[in-house]
Symmetry: C2
Subunit: 335 residues, 2 copies
């Protein structure tokens, strides 16, 4: 019986990489199917609406040639795509000013991307390529440095407290802390801003506002649904400023949360399992770590400020820390 | 003299974090100034063009009420923003089909974001939030796993070869290899695709095509400038398929390149220096490592397949590897 279990475990470990590939493909397929199924009817409806508007306009204005109207609309759409105010009401107000520029810089460097501001001239495009090649890694590096300053306060100290004062085993302390942090982060970073957005833009439902917050902080970028299209210029500038701050602060908190989750022993065990045979062979996975009350889990690092844990927050460019530390502190033993 | 140099070095090390903050703010400001200066005249020109078109249309069609035209245009623009084909010519062709859905899934999960497809219904938005919360970390994890398979072939073996057969010191071998790889990656991943795009879309300049490739692979997202707006449906579907493949393969190569760069000792030294006092105190930076021909640089890990280097490619979620390995291989010494 024990042999069967251990051989089953080995098979599972060896085949984990192909399984992961298969599951991922399935995940993508399911996404594709759901989006097609749900979106198609909505799109059909919207399209019918526009066609009806078009038809009634031509009927009401018989002097207008359809081809001429098409031309006007086509040009207007392409100009609108480059964020040029097409409608008279906007035209007086919208300008590519310094605030907009700063907003563009931040959303581009965080790879969120802006759909309302895009470089129009060749010089800007060239500058943008060089600027981002340097700036994107720098921004991620910088955000991670700031998150590193947050980690001892937000994660190490509370887990240590839960462990030593409340007497929770290390794995439980880490898991409890991560769950609590999730609730706090989700409330402060998503629910609260979504409520604020709802209050500011009464046309939007709460879900729309939540989605708006989500696409910003996931750096996916807001596809057209931008806030404040009908606001005054100064209100829109304030909104851009707030969005920029929200994005930067949010990313730092999310990096901190991610690193907190990656410190949870159960999460580590799952990732080790999923990393495929080349890692499992080397590291001999303990599936037991997945359960909560194993004694050996207590041997995990205790969030002390030792050289092994102080710089444990690699994100993108931060990975060199672990590299460096392995090089300086660990490798001498093996080389 | 030696004392002066060493005290200067210490000052530099202690103040490196505030300096970094200052430099980063300056970097952002310069970006903002340049974008404002270059973009404003171009935007003014475009806006004047649209205003002229609008005026001449109203002059030619005196029966049209300006307010009515504004309304039509406003509705058309907002529908266009949700990727509903507004013009008759497109309307027959464009559909939210399965290919488009898959394209949307991939560009969203890689956080590039699509400006042409956005969820329109509430159900899709809710699904999108859950799907991405799970999918974005999974995608990054998956791409890094694949890049890990590439790294021994693309980086470890060539550097080892340069080191042992060509007799180059380790630091020089790593630097030479990284430079060569940069030329190859830039040619194959940016210049070649940009040339192809140029051939397919004769209206675009080479710079426009290069910018198009750049915003895809940096996951910033193509702000409106999407390829193939005037193409046939099947051509556009093929283009979406190719873009998806380009994005995924490109990201794997870029992750591999990034990790290659992070293995270069000079890069490590710079990052160690920039990481601020809390790291420098612990690790006692050797600025000498910045020079090429120091003997002690030879002591860097030799790209062997030891446990210290095999999993040296943390990217986003991959960071647990280094965590894990420190926990399993290194920490027993310090705890």
């Amino acid at each position: 019986m024990a042999q069967l279990v251990s051989s089953l475990r080995l098979t599972c470990q060896v085949n984990v990489f192909p399984c992961l590939v298969l599951c991922y493909l399935l995940f993508i397929l399911v996404g594709g199917v759901v989006f097609t199924a749900v979106e198609r009817p909505v799109e059909k409806e919207l399209r019918a609406e526009v066609a009806e508007l078009w038809r009634s306009f031509l009927q009401e204005n018989p002097c207008v040639q359809e081809s001429r109207l098409s031309e006007l609309l086509g040009r207007a759409l392409s100009a609108h795509h480059s964020d040029v105010a097409v409608l008279k009401a906007d035209a007086e107000e919208k300008r590519y000013d310094f605030t907009s520029s700063l907003y563009f810089v931040i959303v581009t460097l965080t790879t969120m991307g802006s759909d309302t501001y895009t470089p129009k001239s060749d010089e800007t495009k060239l500058f943008c390529i060089f600027y981002c090649t340097l700036g994107i890694p720098l921004t991620l590096f910088f955000l991670t440095l700031l998150s590193n300053l947050l980690l001892p306060i937000v994660t190490y100290a509370p887990v240590q407290h839960l462990h030593s004062y409340w007497g929770l085993p290390y794995t439980q302390a880490a898991l409890t802390h991560a769950s609590l942090l999730f609730v706090i982060v989700f409330s402060l970073l998503f629910l609260l801003p979504a409520l604020l957005v709802c209050m500011l833009e009464p046309d939007w439902s709460f879900l729309e506002a939540l989605f708006f917050c989500f696409v910003i902080l996931s750096t996916v970028g807001q596809g057209g649904n931008s806030l404040g299209r009908n606001w005054s210029l100064s209100a829109r500038e304030t909104q851009e400023l707030f969005t920029t701050c929200y994005l930067l602060v949010g990313l730092i908190v999310i990096i901190t949360f991610r690193d907190t989750v990656l410190q949870v022993p159960q999460v580590r065990a799952v990732i080790r399992l999923l990393s495929g045979p080349q890692y499992t062979e080397l590291e001999s996975i303990h599936l037991n770590e997945l359960s909560l009350n194993e004694d050996h889990c207590e041997k995990e690092p205790q969030y002390s400020q030792s050289i092994c844990t102080i710089s444990s927050v690699p994100f993108e460019l931060m990975s060199p820390y672990s590299e460096l530390q392995r090089a300086t502190t660990c490798c001498p033993d093996t080389s």
